[in-house]
């Protein structure tokens, strides 16, 4: 036994430190495969992996699909607009039908928090949460931690600041769970209206002053302003947000450590939460995050499908 027994990956909240470390360790072994001329290993040959994305996605979806293909699994991608969901079929019915087609892993993105949890209770195949509402996005959290670890070394004792719309961010929640379990000190920063009440109970520092979040941080994770979730008027204007919370070269030079890591889960709103000179600077590891995402997702697919076999 190597310490992995979960058939699903629903969030980092449910994982313990050892399990997170195992995924990260496995991911570092998988990273080499994507640098080969033949970017493929036969490990998941004959397995079927279904990607079901109820929300738009470029990175996560292509990353999962490439990860599955590099492990030789067969993939099936279903978009909501062309599925029978539009005819009124429920989520549960849809997936019981997919399950009846003998698939092994289902990767789900859904706008409702808890969708993946609900699904995992109804069906036998492994379920991987690729983002559920404002709840969790575990593989993003893992790849962020993987990137920090790869760049700096151990995460333990590091100061990580997460800046932006914490309220709607599943990326923030997965990062907080994961980083806290590995012993990092997390600070969240954003306009008061976008910081959920009682977030301190997750074990983070809270500030509404960007300079405080930048000062002393080893890594800064800048979240996207989710325009699609901003209809309620949580802040007066994008311009005002950019003025107070946008990360610019000047603010970094003034407050941050010279070797700070700048991360962003994408897609970026250049000129809002991050200026182009920061996004393209030498601090930025944004594209490395994307590269690492494939290795992390390969590790997750490998581990959950092996655990799925044990249960059968």
């Amino acid at each position: 036994m190597n310490g992995w027994s979960k058939k699903d990956l629903l969030g980092l909240e449910e994982l313990d430190k050892k399990e997170i470390e195992l995924i990260l360790e496995t991911a570092s072994s998988f990273k080499e495969i994507s640098t080969r001329e033949v970017k493929k290993v036969p490990t998941l040959r004959g397995k079927t992996i279904v990607l079901f994305f109820f929300e738009p996605s470029t990175r996560t979806r292509s990353s999962f699909e490439l990860a599955a293909k590099r492990l030789s699994a067969d993939t099936l991608s279903i978009a909501t607009s062309s599925s029978s969901i539009v005819k009124g079929e429920t989520l549960k019915d849809t997936f019981m039908n997919i399950e009846a087609m003998q698939v092994d892993v289902i990767i789900l993105r859904h706008s409702a928090s808890g969708a993946a949890h609900m699904l995992s209770k109804c069906i036998a195949p492994s379920v991987i949460n690729a983002g559920d509402g404002c709840h969790e996005h575990p593989t993003q959290g893992l790849l962020d931690i993987f990137t920090i670890q790869e760049k700096i070394g151990s995460v333990k004792g590091l100061k990580v600041s997460i800046i932006g719309d914490i309220l709607h961010s599943r990326v923030a929640r997965s990062n907080i769970w994961g980083l806290n379990k590995l012993g990092a000190e997390v600070t969240v920063c954003g306009p008061k209206t976008l910081i959920p009440r009682d977030i301190e109970k997750m074990g983070v520092n809270v500030t509404t002053d960007l300079s405080k979040a930048l000062k002393g941080a080893d890594a800064i994770n800048i979240l996207r302003i989710q325009r699609e979730r901003q209809k309620a008027g949580m802040f007066p204007s994008l311009r005002e947000y950019a003025l107070y919370f946008g990360v610019t070269k000047e603010k970094l030079d003034k407050f941050a450590k010279p070797d700070v890591l700048i991360m962003h889960p994408g897609p970026m709103n250049r000129g809002v939460e991050i200026t182009p000179d920061v996004a393209d600077s030498s601090y930025s590891v944004i594209l490395e995050q994307v590269t690492n995402g494939i290795a992390v997702r390969m590790a997750v697919l490998y581990l959950v499908s092996q655990a799925g076999l044990q249960e059968q």
């Binding site: 998988f30 990273k31 033949v38 493929k40 490998y302 076999l309």
Partner: protein, 188 residues
């Protein structure tokens, strides 16, 4: 049923002499070190590969070392769907181009031949070597695939109930090869 130590097949001195002899044979067969590279299979094959590469340089009086790579075959195993727990994946580290190289694959024990099958599949995915040769410290028989070794340290006839354990000081604090069998430990 737990396995107990039955007899010692090789000690540190003998392992050293055997690896030295295999290194000589490799040099003889390949007429020197040109295009030669050594690939060890994780985990103990990797240490043996390193030792063989050092002996080769020592024998040949070369200052330029023979490239050594490490192969992790976990992802190529044919029994992943059958074993109860999923094995930990370690990384393959081959930091040179294997195209047109003469590769010597090194493992500790040759048994069913399935590990070697995995290794061959993986090497072919990494490039097109000129040829692949196989060196093992112990050949214990019972092949399940048509695979044989080019360089054998010691042939040990075994029964299927026995097993051969190679211990190397890099991981096991000792250099020895022991035959394990069910039943009483003779040493105690």
């Amino acid at each position: 049923m737990t396995l107990k130590e039955k007899s010692k097949l090789m000690d540190a001195q003998m392992i050293k002499r055997t690896l030295m002899r295999i290194s000589h044979e490799i040099l003889e067969r390949n007429k020197g070190t040109k295009d030669l590279a050594i690939i060890g299979i994780r985990c103990r094959g990797a240490y043996l590969a390193q030792r063989i590469a050092e002996f080769i340089c020592e024998i040949d009086g070369q200052t330029k070392s023979v490239p050594v790579g490490i192969l992790d075959i976990t992802l190529y195993r044919d029994d992943l769907t059958m074993i109860a727990s999923c094995p930990i994946v370690h990384s393959t580290k081959i930091e040179f181009d294997i195209n047109d190289k003469k590769l010597v694959l090194v493992d500790d024990v040759l048994f069913s031949g399935r590990t070697i099958r995995c290794a061959l599949d993986e090497l072919v995915d990494l490039g097109r070597p000129k040829n692949i040769q196989l060196a093992v410290l112990v050949d214990r028989g019972h092949r399940e695939l048509p695979i044989r070794a080019d360089y054998v340290g010691k042939n040990v006839p075994t029964t299927l109930k026995e097993s051969v354990e190679v211990r190397l000081h890099e991981v096991d604090n000792a250099d020895e090869v022991v035959l394990m069998a069910q039943g009483k430990d003779k040493r105690k």
